[in-house]
Amino acid sequence: MNRLSWFNTVSLTLGFAFLYIPMVILIIFSFNESKLVTVWGGFSAKWYGELLQNESFLQAAWVTLKVAVLSSTLATVLGTMAAYVLVRGGRFLGRTLFSGMIYAPLVMPEVITGLSLLLLFIGIGLDRGVMTIVLAHTTFAMCYVSVVVSSRLITFDRSLEEAALDLGCSQAEAFRLVTLPIIAPAVISGWLLAFTLSLDDLVIASFTAGPSATTLPIKIFSAVRLGVSPEINALSTIMIGIVTVGVVTASLVTKRQMVRQRRDEQNAERS
């Protein structure tokens, strides 16, 4: 049933155009022959070639990937623990502080988080490098993971856990065999969220990176400060492409699962 008024249609069209046109332009001009990213000089994929030969970019990409995988995995573990504690922990000493520490980083400006972590590392004499970025990313990412997982845990049917206990599981077994498999989608989205946040982070990485560790966002930022460059367009297109493939795949998979589930349920009632 289409209840869209003309106003709705206009606002949706304009809105999505606003969201997507800049990215489309970015992609188009990554194939621009001319170095000027504002004048079309013909179709060329040479910038991609140049990009793939750019050692420092490749190195930065590798570091960024390493950091992202490490920090998101660690953040998922810590964040899931934190979520479990928040939802099931009941009352314990310092609970308000704990929940405050979990929610605050979500809205804290990155310059503050970055600065404070850098000062910590210097204060305890920790050399800045890849590990310090990982520590920093893990810390703020675990809060996002915790929010995602706790919102799933809240709606989780506790009688399933009780049934597991009733049938002989210890608390840990019940979590491992029943709760975790069922909340797995939320845990996975938490991981993906942490991964993206890490991949994308500029400010915190700038503060906490060492001389040997340059991440891709840092490189991109120093490049674009000088102005627009088609190599960056090429890089952007690649990144947008990867994300698009990921998001579209995830959407299709979820949709197919939902359709299948609904069909199964309908068949079940009929039989």
């Binding site: 800049p22 605050a104 980083p105």
Partner: protein
């Protein structure tokens, strides 16, 4: 019992060590003096000399400095102004979109949702960068406007506050749309029908019923835009000009360019104090939401 303790302790200690302690350190350094040293502040905590001597050297000099130099309080005010205006603009763009999404046919919704989420997952830096090419004097927007004959000479948009507003709305739009969408989705359609049945025009029903009932979503969306925008760095740095005063930029420059860590820390502390009120309010709002849902 032991297990429970460990379960709570691990994330707790991590956050204490890597979240709370750093803030304490920022505060301490805000009370220190700048020094040509590595690290560039003085005094440094020396176990030998002890706490007394340590505390004696600390002072509020940096905070006083903040009030003396025009730059800082102007930057705070400017940041506040920009944050408020951008939040409002984002709301203006985001609400109709969320509303349109809710009224769209059921089959479209997953796709529309995906279209909103995709920018959210795309690199923030890249999306801001995209506007650089569009808003510059030789950029596509000016080219387009000149080509259509609307203007004669290029508008200076890049490196002004206007570009910053556009950049903020662009990057934070998904954060506004998603909470409003989910609040609107939960709205019972029959309430609108009841309002119309009782004599409201479509517009009145919207104003008197829909908006108040989506209040929770609006508030959440506004907080999610306002609070980070206050300390935003990348957007004013890339899209703003030298006269774009935002506190995030000031902090960065104090730290990296001027190497004045104590002042940077003092700036951070004041920013944090400014943010405590909205952050606490945000948390309260979230808690109330969660409890309402249970």
């Amino acid at each position: 019992m032991m297990r429970r303790f460990v379960l709570i302790a691990i994330p707790y200690l991590w956050l204490l060590a890597l979240f709370l302690v750093p803030f304490a350190i920022v505060f301490k350094i805000a009370l220190s003096d700048a020094a040509i040293a590595r690290p560039p502040y003085f005094p440094q905590f020396d176990w030998v000399e002890g706490i007394g001597a340590f505390l004696a050297e600390l002072d509020f000099e940096n905070f006083v400095w903040l009030t003396e130099d025009d730059l800082y309080w102007k930057a705070y005010l400017s940041s506040l102004r920009i944050a408020v205006i951008s939040t409002f603009l984002t709301l203006l763009v985001g609400y109709p979109m969320a509303y349109g999404m809710v009224r769209a046919p059921e089959e479209w919704r997953p796709t529309l949702m995906m279209l909103v989420i995709l920018p959210f997952w795309t690199s923030f830096l890249i999306r801001v960068y995209a506007w650089m090419g569009i808003l510059s004097n030789e950029g596509l927007l000016n080219q387009f406007l000149i080509w259509t004959g609307l203007i004669d000479s290029p508008l200076t948009i890049l490196n002004t506050n206007t570009a910053v507003y556009i950049g903020i709305v662009y990057t934070y739009l998904p954060f506004m749309i998603l909470p409003i969408y989910s609040a609107l989705e939960r709205l019972d359609g029959s309430l609108i029908e009841a309002a119309e049945d009782l004599g409201c025009s479509r517009l009145q029903a919207f104003w008197l019923v829909t908006i108040p009932l989506s209040r929770a979503g609006i508030i959440a969306g506004c907080f999610l835009v306002f609070i980070p925008t206050l300390g935003e760095f990348v957007i004013p740095s890339l899209l703003g000009g030298s006269d774009t005063l935002m506190i995030g930029k000031v902090l960065w420059e104090e730290f990296f360019s001027n190497r004045d860590w104590p002042v940077a820390s003092a700036v951070a502390v004041v920013l944090l104090l400014l943010l405590i009120v909205p952050i606490v309010l945000f948390q309260r709002n979230q808690q109330k939401q969660q409890e309402a849902e249970q």
